[in-house]
Symmetry: C2
Subunit: 245 residues, 2 copies
Amino acid sequence: MLSPIPIQAIKVACSNCNLRELCMPIGLNDTDMKRLDDVVATRRKVKRGSALFRNGERFNALYAIRTGFFKTCVTTEDGRDQVTGFQMAGEIIGLDGIVSDQHTCDAVAIEDAEVCVMPFDTIERISREVTALQTHVHKIMSREIVREHGVMLLLGSMRAEERLAAFLLNLVQRLHARGFSQSELVLRMTREEIGSYLGLKLETVSRTFSKFVDDGIVEVKQRHVRILDADALKQIVNPQTCAPH
Amino acid sequence: MLSPIPIQAIKVACSNCNLRELCMPIGLNDTDMKRLDDVVATRRKVKRGSALFRNGERFNALYAIRTGFFKTCVTTEDGRDQVTGFQMAGEIIGLDGIVSDQHTCDAVAIEDAEVCVMPFDTIERISREVTALQTHVHKIMSREIVREHGVMLLLGSMRAEERLAAFLLNLVQRLHARGFSQSELVLRMTREEIGSYLGLKLETVSRTFSKFVDDGIVEVKQRHVRILDADALKQIVNPQTCAPH
DNA sequence: CGACACCTTGAAGAGGTTCAAGAAATGTGG
DNA sequence: CCACATTTCTTGAACCTCTTCAAGGTGTCG
């Protein structure tokens, strides 16, 4: 009879985690996969409304979201703050802390959450040996940089309707990649948080939702959104250049 | 008599580059320093107005700016574009290309420039062996993420005057770190490029400059700017919270 | 020196914000 | 399980900031 696998080992092993393909390199052989299991030290639960980390705290780990939903925000000394992103299962947070060994933003759960804690020194050690992990870490950071370019484009050059349309399309696309509907979603964040992310006031977000409803593009019941005309949303984000001659 | 050091070797060696402390890890021993010299394959000159790389081009290297000035911009299909940053000597560009093996923005020289070409596979190989380089690469990427958080805060929550003040302070601070004046600078970019970066129209940038001049905060002669009252600029960016009781 | 790119300024207009009030949903404690 | 407090959302009206459009000025480079 086989000796039972220790509970703890099962619990934190990436090798049998169903989110593996979202947060870990793919196509690894068994040896490398085993090594990767060492990356995750522990798990941590975060209650809705409380922070995984805060600006100024010492950085020592990256976090892979298992369940739940986070927002990250930066704050100025005079109290203004800006939501810099919303993160869901399979996404990695904490990259901001690497440069100065301390976090420069807050990561707050906007829904009860659980994360895998990946001590960064371990990540660095193993990624020196497992090339696929090294590549993966680089890609994750680069992806974040590219994502932020997109947000800058949105904040710098789009109008309210375009921003909200882009936001909705981005959300459903990510949810769809996780097996959810392409056309229906539940917003985990308030209008104010959406507004902060999009550089708009909450009233403007609300009004823009109402306009989309009037135009028959979406149905909105509080935080429940059904997209009726995804093409219209795409059109709003990316107005077609003039018809071919 | 010593044999002469080959010209080519001198030319691309980081170990005797005076920008070393800006783009390379510090405090290395000689052995590691020698290894780092292999990171830079060649140099490349870029004429003002032409691109180091463009959106869609294959990614294979990061670039360290030796001389000159760059802007990076992202573009939408319908032709809108957004300047995502201005880069000067010692800064690294090309990080956007890592995630998908192709660049997702344009890097255009806004002043004749020269860059060190650092093939990314070489960087990855050497950073597996030289821990300081690995750490350094991670910090560079993290720094870029944090910088972009700052831009998002600016675009999402500041008004025109605050944006321009923050922009000027950031520029002189970086120039000062490179040995230039704390109070005088020459803008290498047009009003339109500044506007694109700050999410404003060029007219608004121009008007805001004029307002700063009227208020005696700066002197402006085309692209020559002298900061007369840096505290006032800081005050504009970060309005003090109410006086202590 | 003339053409071109860049910058400044004015006036009118649009988009988003602010302030305010009320409605709907959510959570809490009795 | 209901009543009440709180949070969140919606909508209206006035206002403000920034944009748009337009014209003229300044600087630069072949």
